[in-house]
Structures are given as C-alpha cells and as structure tokens.
C-alpha cells in the first residue's frame, strides 16, 4: 500500500478550527482531506443531521461514536453520496462533494461526475455487500478492471496482493457464501483498497460479525491505519477507537456533542450524554467479558 501513503511523514497534530473557517482557502498542506460544514439531512421531514462540522486531515483516523439513530452512519454515507445532503457543504480533497459551484450557484453533478468522485473513496459496509456471484478474487478485481480500465493481468496480481494483505491469500477462488463473516469483511476491505482510495469509510464494519470474528477485521483496519490511510470509522468498538483513532467524535441526535483526542473523550468525557453512552457501552463490554469467561471454564 505504498502508493496510498501521503507525503506527510507523520500524522498531523489535530488542531482543528471549531467552526466555519474559510473552507475554500486552498493552502495545500493545511487543507483537510475531508471538510464538512453545517451538513444537514432530513428523511421525510425527520431531521437526521442538524449541522455537522468535521475536519479530517490526511493520515488521520477518525472514529464516529454514538447511539444508534444519532446520524453517524447517515453522515458517513453523505460523504460518499449514497445520501444527498440537504444543506451545508462537504469537500473531499478540495472538491465540493455532489455539486459544482458556479459563482455561488450550485449545480448537481451528473451521474458520471458522481461516479468519478466516488472512485477516490473506499467504503466498507456493515453487511459486507460482496458480489455473491463472483469469487473473492473477482470481487477485488471488478472495479479496477471495469472502472479504472486496468489490464486483467495487472489487476489480478494486485488483487492477489491485497487478499494476501488482509490474510486471505489462500482463498482467491472462494465464493462469498463459502467464507465466514470476518473473511467476507476482509475481502470487502481488499475490494475497496483495490481502487487506491484517498479515504476509507467504514460503516460499523464489525457489527454484523460473531464476536470471535471481530478481532481479525479490526486487526486489518489497524494495519491500514498504521500504513497512514485516512479513515473515518463508524464503530461501537471502544477499544479500537481508544487505541487507533487520532480523533473521536461523539454524535447524538444529529449533532456533534463532543470531540477530541480519544483519551479525552473516552476516558474523561465532559458532556452528560457522552458519559451515559460510554457507561452503557462499558456495561455491555463487561457482560460480554463475563460471558466469555464463563465459557472458558466449562463445568467438569
């Protein structure tokens, strides 16, 4: 994955403007890879996002935390235009997402332009969404061959390399139905990486997995983070957020309640809603741990 690392040797310090600094100031290195300003989104009159501001710098890992229904998945999908935003702006690498700004007048992008923007952004879904009629190898090769017009031989070599990277070098010819959930999700990660994205979005990548399969997926994500990939991760895995994230964002009710370094937000939350959410998560974790322990010592 040497070609996806950025020129910056280390991750930027996370000094972030709290609100509307001029997003169009294109000062190269300082410019965040993702900038969201006052993002608004409603479904049938139900406001899901009520003005989200977020900056993600190159090489950063940002975890979005929060109870279900807080809008974190919707926000993630807006970055990739799987949902269209109603208000505010999102820029990825300086490009306005979904629209063309013509002297203040916005124009919708054509389907083709939208597809071009999405190429640069990899996405991993909660339910994997692998193509079931293709083998693992074909899944990974599909987009480079069809979208980037990479030659088949080259795409195959690269796909095998990526499958190796996610620990599935021995299963190129398996169909998704023949793989476990954790293996499927790792193929899905390889598939997204095959497009050499600037940014990876993870939508609760471990929520559909059996507990014993979560670790293998998180390990792959951790390696990706270590290689300098810019990642936005919606997750309930507090351990992952605490250890891997450069920045965590706690959302509730369509707003950002609290954000900062993981050790501040997770270990020392300031806001009441953050505290109660984390307490609930911890209680669940303890329960799971207790279950695991009782399993380890079966009755004789």
């Amino acid at each position: 994955m040497s070609d996806t690392t950025t020129s910056e040797p280390t991750r930027e310090p996370t000094t972030r403007p709290t609100s509307g600094a001029d997003a169009r100031s294109r000062t190269g290195e300082d410019r965040p890879l993702v900038r969201a300003l006052n993002v608004l989104k409603s479904f049938h009159g139900n406001e899901v996002l009520k003005g989200i501001d977020l900056d993600v710098h190159r090489g950063e890992v940002v975890c979005l935390l929060g109870p279900s229904g807080s809008g974190k998945t919707t926000f993630l999908r807006c970055i990739n235009q799987l949902e269209e935003i109603d208000g505010g702006r999102i820029w990825v690498d300086g490009d306005l997402v979904g629209f063309r700004d013509d002297g203040g007048q916005l124009h919708h992008l054509t389907d083709k332009q939208v597809a071009t923007q999405r190429r640069e952004i990899g996405m991993v879904f909660q339910r994997f969404n692998l193509f079931p009629h293709m083998t693992a190898l074909q899944n990974v090769m599909e987009a480079p061959v069809q979208v980037r017009r990479v030659g088949k031989t080259k795409a195959r070599a690269r796909a095998l390399e990526l499958l190796e990277q996610v620990g599935l070098g021995d299963k190129p010819n398996a169909y998704p139905a023949q793989l476990s959930g954790g293996q499927q999700q790792r193929v899905a990660i390889a598939r997204a990486l095959a497009m050499d994205p600037k940014l990876m979005l993870f939508d609760e990548p471990t929520s559909a997995l059996d507990p014993e399969l979560v670790g293998e997926v998180l390990r792959v994500m951790r390696e990706l983070a270590d290689q300098g990939m810019t990642m936005i991760v919606v997750t309930h895995e507090m351990g992952f957020a605490r250890d891997v994230a450069d920045h965590v964002v706690f959302m509730d009710g369509g707003v950002v309640v609290e954000q900062g370094k993981p050790k501040d937000v997770i270990s020392n939350p300031q806001h009441e809603r953050t505290k109660s959410f984390l307490k609930r998560m911890r209680a669940e974790d303890d329960e799971a741990a207790a279950d695991a322990e009782s399993l380890e010592t079966p009755d004789a």
């Binding site: 990739n80 799987l82 389907d111 083709k112 597809a115 071009t116 999405r118 190429r119 952004i121 990899g122 996405m123 879904f125 909660q126 339910r127 994997f128 969404n129 692998l130 193509f131 079931p132 009629h133 293709m134 083998t135 599909e142 987009a143 069809q146 979208v147 169909y175 998704p176 139905a177 023949q178 793989l179 476990s180 959930g181 499927q184 899905a188 598939r191 997204a192 497009m195 559909a208």
Partner: protein
C-alpha cells in the same frame, strides 16, 4: 466412534418408522388406473399409435416442427427476453418519459390476446400500411416543401409480402412475450439486495456497469425459472402462427394430414407427442441454466460449507 450400550447410557437408536398406509392405497389405485389406460391403448384400435408415429415422421410435419415450433420459439423468445429486459430497465429508469413508454408497452401487449395480435399482423397491418418507407421522418413532406425530387427514403418494405412471413409471426409473438418477460425481469432486478447497487456505486461504477455486471447476473437466478416456464408456454403458442396464416407450423400440418387421411385421432396423438418431446428437452436445459446462475448461492457453488445467502452477510 464408541457407542456404549452398557449401563444406563442410551445407545444407537433403532426405532420403527411411521407407517404410511395411504401411500400404498394410492399406489394400488394408480396401478389399476394405469393398467386400464394401457389396456385401452392396446385394445382400442382407434388410438392408432403406429399411424401416429407415421404422421410424426411426415416431411411437412417435420418442417412445421422445425420452422414453426423450434425456430418460432427460439426467435420469439430471443426477442421476448432481450426486449423484456430492456423494457424492465426502462421501467426502473429515473427518466419519467422512458418509464411511461415502458408502462404503455406492457399495458398494450399484455392486454391483447396473441391470436388476435397475430391475425392483425397477418392481414391488418398490410391493409393499413402497404409500404413501410425507411428514411427521414416526414421526408416526403419536407421534400415537396423544398421542391426536391428525392423524398429522403432509403429503402421500402412491402408490408403485404412481409406480414405473412414466418419472421412477421416471430416478431409478433416476440413483442407480446416481451411484455411478460418485462414483468419477470423487473421482479428479478428488484429481488437483488440494494446493498449490491450501493457497493457498486461506492466503487465508482456507473448505473450501466452496475446493472450489467452486478445486478443482472444476480437477477438471472430469479429470472431463469419463470423464463423456462415462458419458453415452454411459447412452444405451445407457436401453434397460433397459423392465424397469420403461416402453414409451415406443426399443428396446422398434422391436422391437415389427419383430415386428409381421415386419421384425426392419430394426428392429435402425433402432435401431442411432439409438443411433449420438445417440452421435455427444454426442461433439461432449464435445469442446467438454473445451476449456472445459482453460482455462489450455495446450490451451485462447489464444496459449499455455508448454505446461507451471501452478500447479505448471512443476516
């Protein structure tokens, strides 16, 4: 594997199966009925099986079978399937005009009986439009307006001659079939999980690529079984070609021979046997097609270990 049968620990199960007296009664009744039927075949000379076999092998009958039934079915189903998929895609398009066109097409061709449609193509179209000119729309009017000698017509089709040909009949059946296939294809496309489209979109594939590479191959799994049904129905509906009228058609020819030689019943037996034979061959073909498009869905995958729908993450 040890199976201790000592002590109190229960060993291997040797239970008596549940009796199914109903099955034996049913079998006895069916055997008697079949025996009666076979005995009637032998004793009732009016069946005329040897005559039927003769009729089956007559040259006009074989020609009718080949041109009318087999070529007719293949041709009309090819038009029907391709047309049906296109109409289904139009129906699901984001363009409201195309959606409307697709709706009206289905409404029209599903609404009129094939017999009526074919009769109309055979005699009606040629009466209304004796010639079909292919050229620039309103070419004649434009030419006279501009005072040109040319009328912008590139070639002309004699409709009266064309409309009574086998090709016209195949097109007629195909257009009608497309309306039904459109509904089948639409159901197939809608059956594919919407996460598949999202995954394709997230990879930067456009709508066409996503439809062609991701959605349609999966929709085929749902489309193939009812299409097999439609094909077998079409084999039988080719007998309607005689309404055009096209006489190189299986039923028309067998019946003609039957009437001419006063072998009415043997001719019916002959035509029934041919339809059953063609239908049987198609059923075998359908089995292999279903296997092919079931790839990756447990049934078709080699060494299946997890028999759950993939892509949906087993949920």
């Amino acid at each position: 594997m040890t199976t201790p049968t000592t002590d109190d620990r229960p060993g291997l199960i040797e239970a008596r199966p549940v009796r199914h007296p109903g099955r034996w009664v049913a079998l006895a009744v069916i055997i008697v009925l079949v025996a009666m039927l076979i005995s009637s075949f032998i004793t009732n000379e009016r069946w005329g099986f040897s005559k039927a076999l003769e009729i089956m092998n007559q040259k006009p009958v074989l020609e009718g079978l080949w041109k009318g039934t087999i070529v007719g079915t293949i041709g009309s189903m090819a038009i029907g399937i391709v047309g049906g998929v296109i109409i289904a895609i139009l129906r699901l398009s984001q363009n409201p005009v195309l959606r409307g066109v697709s709706f009206v097409y289905t409404w029209f061709f599903r609404g009129i009986p094939r017999l009526v449609l074919l009769a109309m193509i055979g005699s009606g179209i040629g009466f209304l439009y004796a010639n079909l000119d292919f050229g620039i729309p309103f070419g004649k009017q434009l030419a006279s307006l501009m005072g040109l000698s040319s009328d912008f017509t590139f070639f002309t089709l004699d409709v009266n001659q064309f409309s009574s040909s086998l090709l016209a009949g195949i097109i007629g059946l195909g257009l009608s079939e497309a309306a039904y296939m459109a509904e089948i294809a639409r159901a197939g496309i809608l059956s594919v999980d919407k996460g598949q489209n999202e995954a394709a979109a997230a990879l930067g594939m456009n709508r066409g690529q996503s439809m062609r590479r991701i959605v349609l191959p999966q929709a085929m799994r749902v489309i193939v079984p009812p299409t097999g049904n439609e094909t077998i129905a079409m084999v039988k509906d080719t007998s309607l070609l005689s309404a055009i009228p096209i006489i190189t058609e299986l039923f028309y020819q067998t019946r003609a021979i039957g009437t001419r030689t006063l072998q009415i019943m043997p001719s019916f037996v002959a035509v029934t046997a041919w339809y059953l034979l063609v239908g049987s061959v198609l059923m075998v073909g359908q089995y292999f097609l279903e296997k092919r498009f079931g790839r990756g869905f447990g049934t078709g995958a080699p060494n299946k270990r997890f028999a759950r729908p993939a892509g949906a993450g087993g949920a």
